[in-house]
């Protein structure tokens, strides 16, 4: 390995893990075992040198060095842009307003910087755009002080398979054992929100028994549309942004600038706004000549004036179909409900909340399992303070939807998309609970899912009750029969001793009791018959109401066909249409 050779230690006392005489004496008993372990570790370290994830014997605590490779079949990067796209911080091109996963490409660059900080190794990039006859290969690192890429190799290689996409490989220090669950969780959540993509995750460990390979299958080819770029809403801009928009605009005068560079400002409205700004403003004044003071005035008016709300057409939510599919595919729940809220607005930015709710399933812990997504990316950390967690744990009365918050396996999925997600803190880890608009939208989305599930749960309970009914009713028959017969016996005894007189009907009954023609078992039998009869009636009523026939059902999944086929015949049926292949 380059830059990290295993060296013999010459001056043992120099190292932090050097053991003094005293300490060694104390652990004399343990020494043998200790040595054995070290020997084993050293042996393992040598063995895996050439594997994908390289484990070096000694690391800092649990932290070891790993090689991380990420490969996709996306659009790839143009050959000449690669060094700048990955080797220069804040070189992003996404300056328009758009629902995006990231903004400045910081994520990829942080990975590069982390590899530089921890191992000093450059990163490797392979990339090809669609239909490109070659693959660009680039090895580079970053000159942090000058903020320029430092390219080691940049060459074109053959692309025989016609591959397109990007592959990036970094060697970094990391801690797999502690964060394994987080990483797998992230992959799983990604799979939930993008059921139209296939993910393959492989971990190659020092010993093969610790290898992990997980495949998240693709289930659909319905994808949400790409989010559209939109203009800023006047109430969402700050002074700096106005200055930048003016610098970039191609419009000449103020009227045109207002009308075309913002949403929700019509020509008529722009004229009204300019009139309101003051006498020194005219519609025809050149927009680039505005003084700083005038800009402040425009900004002030933007803050105070009333504007129509942004439409939210630019947003691209995952969609109920995909959300439901993702949940069903990854969790295999007993029940699932999804809901998509309407577009709402927070500080001039449109946002939309989608929610999913699942009950039961594989690998789901009892209680609330919360899956959060912001612009369709999973949020992993700082769950406690997040608006979704708070809402689900504090503001939803699960009991009223017949859901047991402690025992049931509840999956709560909330995806928020917006042109600006109001993250709390710098880490983009969670959305604060202090925004009323978002909190209430999240609450109502979850509640809508709850309402959908409630009727299902009630129906399921009824079905369960129906099975239990006969057994439960029959359980009480002996108690009742004994009590009734007990009283009748007492009455019969009283009658015999001529103490009490009863009317004729009762008299007749009591005589039969006295002669043992009617006994406890008569009541048991009669009540048993009655319960059977009522049960049959109820079952019939239930069947007519729900119209369901309980037969064994099995879910099947149909995969989409990759390439074109010729079809011969269409078979129509109320549920679906089947097409038969012609050239088979």
């Amino acid at each position: 390995m380059i830059g990290l050779l295993d060296r013999e230690r010459l001056d043992e006392e120099l190292y932090g893990d050097y053991e003094t005489e005293k300490a060694r004496e104390k652990r004399l008993a343990k020494e043998a075992r200790e040595q054995e372990k070290q020997a084993k570790a050293a042996a393992a370290g040598k063995k895996v040198k050439d594997s994908n994830a390289v484990k070096l014997g000694k690391g800092r605590g649990e932290a070891l060095f790993y090689k991380v490779t990420c490969k996709d079949n996306g659009r790839g990067m143009p050959n000449d842009d690669i060094p700048n796209m990955l080797g220069r911080v804040l070189s992003g091109t996404k300056y328009g307003l758009k629902q995006t996963r990231g903004k400045f490409g910081l994520g990829a660059k942080m990975a590069l910087i982390w590899s530089k900080m921890s191992t000093g190794l450059p990163i490797d990039i392979w990339s090809a755009t669609r239909g490109q006859s070659f693959i660009s290969y680039c090895r580079l690192d970053i000159n942090i002080h000058k903020n320029v890429p430092n390219v080691h190799i940049h060459e074109k290689r053959s692309n025989e398979e016609g591959w397109h996409g990007a592959e990036i490989q970094v060697t970094i220090e990391g801690n797999w054992t502690t964060y394994r669950s987080k990483i797998i969780n992230y992959m799983r959540q990604m799979a939930v929100i993008t059921p139209y993509a296939q993910f393959l995750f492989r971990f190659v460990a020092a010993t093969p028994d610790k290898n992990i390979s997980i495949r998240f299958a693709r289930r659909t080819n319905v994808m949400p549309p790409a989010p559209a770029e939109t203009k800023y809403h006047p109430s969402a801009v700050d002074l700096l942004l106005i200055k930048r928009l003016i610098a970039e605009t191609l419009k000449q005068n103020l009227l045109q600038f207002l009308q075309h560079e913002f949403t929700s400002i019509s020509k008529f409205y722009a004229e009204r706004l300019i009139g309101e700004m003051g006498p020194e403003f005219t519609p025809k004044m050149p927009v680039k000549s505005l003084t700083a003071q005038q800009l402040v005035r425009i900004h002030q008016l933007f803050r105070q004036a009333k504007f129509g709300e942004p439409t939210g057409e630019c947003l691209s939510p995952a969609g109920e179909y995909n959300l439901r599919l993702g949940i069903m595919k990854e969790l295999h729940p007993d029940m699932v409900a999804t809901y998509q809220g309407s577009v709402q607005v927070f500080e001039g930015h449109p946002f939309l909340v989608e929610a999913g709710l699942s009950l039961g399933g594989r690998d789901v812990k009892p209680g609330l399992n919360i899956f959060r997504f912001a612009n369709r990316i999973p949020l992993l950390f700082e769950q406690g303070g997040d608006v979704v967690t708070r809402t689900a744990t504090k503001r939803i009365n699960w009991n009223s939807y017949k859901i047991n918050q402690v025992q049931d396996k509840i999956g709560v999925f909330v995806s928020i998309v917006s042109t600006k997600i109001p993250f709390k803190g710098t880490g983009k880890e969670y959305i604060g609970d202090d925004i009323k608009e978002i909190a209430s939208a999240v609450k109502s989305a979850i509640q809508q899912c709850c309402i959908q599930l409630k009727s299902k749960i009630v129906r399921q309970q009824q079905a369960h009750d129906r099975q239990q009914r006969k057994r439960n009713l029959s359980k009480y028959i002996p108690d009742v029969s004994r009590a009734i017969y007990g009283v009748l016996m007492e009455m019969a005894d009283g009658q015999k001793s001529k103490k009490v007189k009863y009317d004729d009907d009762a008299d007749d009954l009591l005589k039969k009791v006295a002669l043992h023609q009617i006994t406890e078992s008569t009541f048991i039998q009669k009540l048993g018959q009655h319960v059977e009869q009522v049960d049959a009636e109820m079952a019939l009523e239930y069947a007519t109401q729900s119209g369901m026939v309980d037969t064994a059902r099995e879910p099947i999944y149909l995969r989409t066909l990759e390439s074109d086929y010729k079809f011969a015949l269409e078979l129509h049926n109320p549920v679906c249409v089947m097409k038969l292949f012609s050239d088979f």
Partner: protein
Amino acid sequence: MNVPFTHFYGSCLALAFAGYKDGILVDKQEEFQVLALHHPLGFSCRVSILLLMADKRKRATAENDSDEDDNGEQPMEAPRKQAQAALAFRKRLKPDNAILATVRKIADSAKSYKPQTQSLADLNLPNACKEVVDLSCASVMAEIEKTIINIARSILGGNGFGYSVPSRSSANQLYVQELDRIVLKDKASFRPFANMASVRKTTITTRILQLVHQLCKKQIHVTKRDLFYTDVKLFQEQGQSDSVLDDVSCMLGCTRSSLNVVASEKGVVVGRLVFVEDGDRIDCTKMGVGGKAIPPNIDKVKDMESDALFILLVEKDAAFMRLAEDRFYNRFPCVIITAKGQPDVATRLFLKKMKTDLKLPVLGLVDSDPYGLKILSVYMSGSKNMSYDSSNLTTPDIKWLGVRPSDLNKYKIPEQCRLPMTDQDIKTGKDLLEEDFIKKDPNWHKELEVMVKTKEKAEIQALSSFGFQYLSEVYLPMKLQERDWI
């Protein structure tokens, strides 16, 4: 240092000192000193407590001095000032004879008071109401037998069976202004056996009917607990058998006492009352400080005699004990009664019997919180749970003596003894404001409004901040002298 022990001694000693100041419990304090000295840590604890108290007193004095200049009328006052205020009230007390004279007048007017003779039937209410009566054992038996014969016939006819049980939910309750109590409307629900929701209750009802039938036949009484234990497996918990028992008495149209099932004794009575219980003559002045437990079956109580001038109804045990120990009933002839919280049937029956037999005014001493008022309301207009029997259980015309919300400032109860009302308290208070029995009396309504507005509550024990005996020696005599009840 052992913190819990310090704390324990601290509180004990503080109490002992308070007792010493009032001239009672002297030997107890000495006892504590001995205890404290004998305990290995005791001495240091005791000393530190003493120091602490001295320090506190010093600080309090300093605060007091600075406060006095601007406004002395604030309810929040330093301890010394409180003591002065308490003393001021004590000085205003007239001699006992004078107080007695005023009380006697009230008692006399109560003697001439005619008990309400109106019954539900006289009123011609728009909705029919359900009421129960005392029935003899034989008629209860007859009722049960009739029911059993009916269901037996229904079962033999292959139709299963069920009971039509009057609903005791709050939607089926009605407050009748003229009678000043809650009555039950005639809504009933049918509980069929062959229904998942009602099968348990129906079964338990049948079993209870059989058990009550046996009781009536043998003419013995059992407690609710006894009844529960006769078939624990079926009843599962006492709450279930208890609620069905109420349903049964409602269904048969008799009082719960006529079912020969009683609750275990809870209430106690002490004071100038003599009565005969099952042949034994009981003198409630000779019952020590604990008082006489109120017998569960009121039909065995006969021949009540008393020279008392009023009946003092106390919410809880602690205040009752204070009054009993101080022999308050000897200074001012009265009967003191408590049910230790929410009143049970026996206590309510006993109070009703005392009121009708002896014709004495009833004065209520409850906490100044919504629950104190609720307890008064149960005595006066009945509980919703037992509204079918309200005619036998309610004692109308109870005077609210204290502790009333307006007393807190009037008697200068110190700030540290007042508690802020919780949200639940405030909600209960606001709900009570809407209740008919509060609305009918503008004075009561006003007091409750004060409570909800100040959001403060206080227990009877708050009066102990002036000394343990303040209740019996100053507060109550003062109240009687001023005829301060509503």
